[in-house]
Symmetry: D2
Subunit: 293 residues, 4 copies
């Protein structure tokens, strides 16, 4: 019998990969044994050709479940998170192969670890998202959300861009560079890290601004309170803005980008043995224990 908490469970996945499909089968079989009510996301249902299953589209599934399980990898969870965060539904990630920073159930542990989650044994943390809005001639012409990062970057490979950064209404700096990464703690182990940004503990209420190939040597990553309101003004060139790696818009000089923390957060569920530092040791090669106690 499922826990009181998690009776109806949504299942998502990047089902074009065979390994994902296999894990989805294992998961569904297990959930049925546990007598959970299952709702499949439409793409998953299409691949599984499940006629008797309850099916809902991505945009909608979060509102009808007590828990959503994403099978795939950090990328799959990232894509789902932006939609799911609008509902107050917790999300658990099952990884295809090795552990991820967001998806920390291994395929071989599905029954044991999902079982424990259903029994109410799990850790949870909540991650904030960023919202980016583009304003042109005084009107909002585009907006998008990001769990990892908003990247503001030269669209053409051989041109630097010029922009101004304003924080909470105060002018911070102008910069001539390839762009700027605005990252949450969740994104600090992704693209921002490649750009030399610091790693931020997941629960930190902060964001980091990482300059990309700045023209002057004095530019450094800048860590701000997550409630800071950012405004970028494009001065030169035609940069692009992307959220979590999805390109959203080509910008013009004069465009302004407003980046703010969203009011909704994503609630992430982890197995009891989840440990951010262990993931860093595994994925980043940080040193393990040397001392005996």
């Amino acid at each position: 019998m499922p826990s009181e908490r998690f009776r109806t469970i949504g299942v998502l996945g990047r089902v074009e990969k065979q390994a994902v499909i296999e894990s989805v089968y294992v998961l569904i079989t297990f959930l049925r044994e546990r007598k959970a009510r299952i709702i499949l996301e439409s793409d998953v249902a299409a691949v599984l050709k499940c006629t008797e299953c309850e099916v809902r589209p991505m945009a909608d599934i979060g509102g009808h479940c007590d828990l959503v399980i994403v099978v795939g990898g950090d990328g799959s969870l990232l894509a789902a998170a932006r939609t799911l965060s609008k509902f107050d539904v917790p999300v658990l990630g099952i990884n295809r192969g090795r552990l991820g920073f967001l998806t920390d159930v291994r395929p071989e542990d599905i029954e044991q670890q999902v079982g424990e989650v259903l029994n109410g044994k799990y850790l949870s943390d909540s991650r904030f998202l960023l919202e980016a809005e583009v304003e042109r001639d005084g009107k909002v012409v585009a907006s998008a959300d990001a769990l990892n990062d908003v990247v503001f970057k030269s669209g053409r490979s051989a041109r630097m861009i010029e922009f101004e950064l304003w924080v909470d209404g105060k002018f911070a700096y102008s910069q001539h560079s390839d762009g700027l990464i605005v990252s949450t703690p969740t994104g600090s182990t992704a693209y921002a890290m490649s750009g030399g940004g610091p790693i931020m503990y997941p629960n930190l209420d902060a964001m980091v601004l990482v300059p990309m190939f700045p023209h002057t040597l004095s530019s450094r990553p800048l860590v701000l309170d997550s409630r800071s309101e950012l405004r970028l003004v494009v001065l030169d060139c035609h940069p692009q803005i992307s959220c979590d790696g999805q390109v959203h818009m080509n910008l013009h000089p004069g465009d302004e980008i407003y980046i703010n923390k969203k009011p909704h957060r994503l609630k992430l569920i982890h197995p009891m043995d989840h440990d951010f530092y262990a993931t860093c040791r595994d994925k980043l090669g940080w040193g393990g224990r040397l001392a005996e106690e």
Copy 2:
């Protein structure tokens, strides 16, 4: 007449420098005109040979004033801050020459800007401090405070050290390096910045751990909540620990260093035109405004 708020004003300074002595004279003359009650720190009084002045030692002056003014530079304020933070007294810094990150009244602006502060026109922010305690064989053998940073570093120039980091009781990593800088936001524009750490906005409730010349390429600055409780375990070598650049102790293998946020904060007073980003532009060379609005 002084403001209601700041009636009794303490004056500190690194009075071995002539420029500082001159600014102290200007300051005292001005405070007398304003009918403020002045308390001189003992060293200042000794140099000024002021017979009718009220005098108190450094350790004590904070408890008898409504405001303490430090004349000197960021280093002077840093040294005073660790003592003054124990009292709830606000501190204002007068710089000898160019602006500092902590001392932002210029000598030529003493009358105008200190005047405004006495009139109640000022900005204030509060900075947290770190406390480092060394434990050996289960006993605390040393402790010290830092407004900028606790630096844990090889005492002999040609040896790396080996240590473990634990955060909130969880093992984070072992590291083979020249040492580790644990910095507050206040210290993030000082030594931590030389080591590649990010700049943190002064009011951020976070600290950054910057590895010094780590043996592996995977080590990165790590930003944690300021309430995190750190424990460093010395595995090899005889490192030293220093707080704000003052060496406090030589350590042995097996020693443990506990680093925590102190309950008391330092209350810093700034003139109305104070702006952290302007200081970064001035001192770090960040780009000024390019666009016309």
Copy 3:
């Protein structure tokens, strides 16, 4: 009378800028006084509306002069260098405003410093160039030269690329990143520096490979002998290749890029007071002299 060496002098410049036109006038007037034979590049001649001047196109001017003077800035000299290096003609650069790394005659010093050069008082050094060739299905489909750098970079802003690097026929590494900068010493103070590359003394026979936002933390700039033969194999994505900031081609998976040192070098002429380190101190903010001797 001009020196024996430099009788015929070519004049180039980015003549859309008024400041450049003014300096060109000053230069030509001075060269006429010195009785030099002057050849204007076509665009310069068009702007100057000089009817009696000798005129030659860019592609050709290098073959008819003993010295070419470029008025403009590092960018102008860079653009001209790729063409001029094919001839054995020395090149002198006049900067519009502040000093550059390549153009080190100030507008106000034209008469004095160009005069000294004509009198045979000058320094010279020679810079190597790189040649990049793109091979597709066994055929060379594009090639270009670079004095600063060959940049191999994601053409779309939100995608990393995957490629292999081979050096002198040996596999070096595969990389998942935003791209790779291959820079000469001349380019080491330009884009490669923004990417964290080291500065290389101009006469060094070496090139540096700077990974751009590499996915793994273990990637580092790699300095190789300038005679090394590089081969990049595109594995994934559609990167672009640019030489000195000019985009030359969109690549496909399977394309191979060969990067080699060119046999011809650019001969740069400098005033007698030219000093690479002084330029670094001026432009990069390196510390000046502190000690008295």
Copy 4:
């Protein structure tokens, strides 16, 4: 029968480690089978209690052998190299465990790979060394050699040093920092790499100067021709100078350090499968092959 080339073979090792002693036994047994004349370094002979062996001290052994084999690790080879480079004797390194950058015969491959070397099948390359001389009041008061690096560094943990750098008689910069690493290509994968220096291909005739925690953000690693003559002038503080991690001297303000390439080079012998890039992939985690050809 040994090759014509390598008839007399010296054996060195850090014989305080059991694993090293075991490998030395395997090596000696093998060399005896091959009828090589063996000369043991005194410490090795003492541990082995070999009564019939030919024995020579470290300082001397290089002059009596055709080949010296060092058993231990990169550190052991480094220590031996400074002495051996004075003779023209080639050196082969046997690693205790995993591969090193200098020692690339694994214990289990001793017979096969040393056998091939004796048969004349091997690769060799030559590495330059640096010489550091300290001059005080016009007299040379200390000197030492380095295969990896000369490190000029604050001796006390909490103090920065101030110094000037001169290159080939020209003033380069003054710097306020924790120190400076001057590294050969051989050392570029050691301490210099921890400090953010680039990796240099072993055969490159260049050295890199890596600033340690520089006070200004504009300092960068600087790559110079290996023949450059460096002069460091101590302005403030009492730094130490070390060569390959051995502390050699405490310095005073006014001391001058001259760093030059030594005329002698170390000749390193490698097995035929030696590959610098493969070592980087193994030790640094660079990406392996992804493409199929």
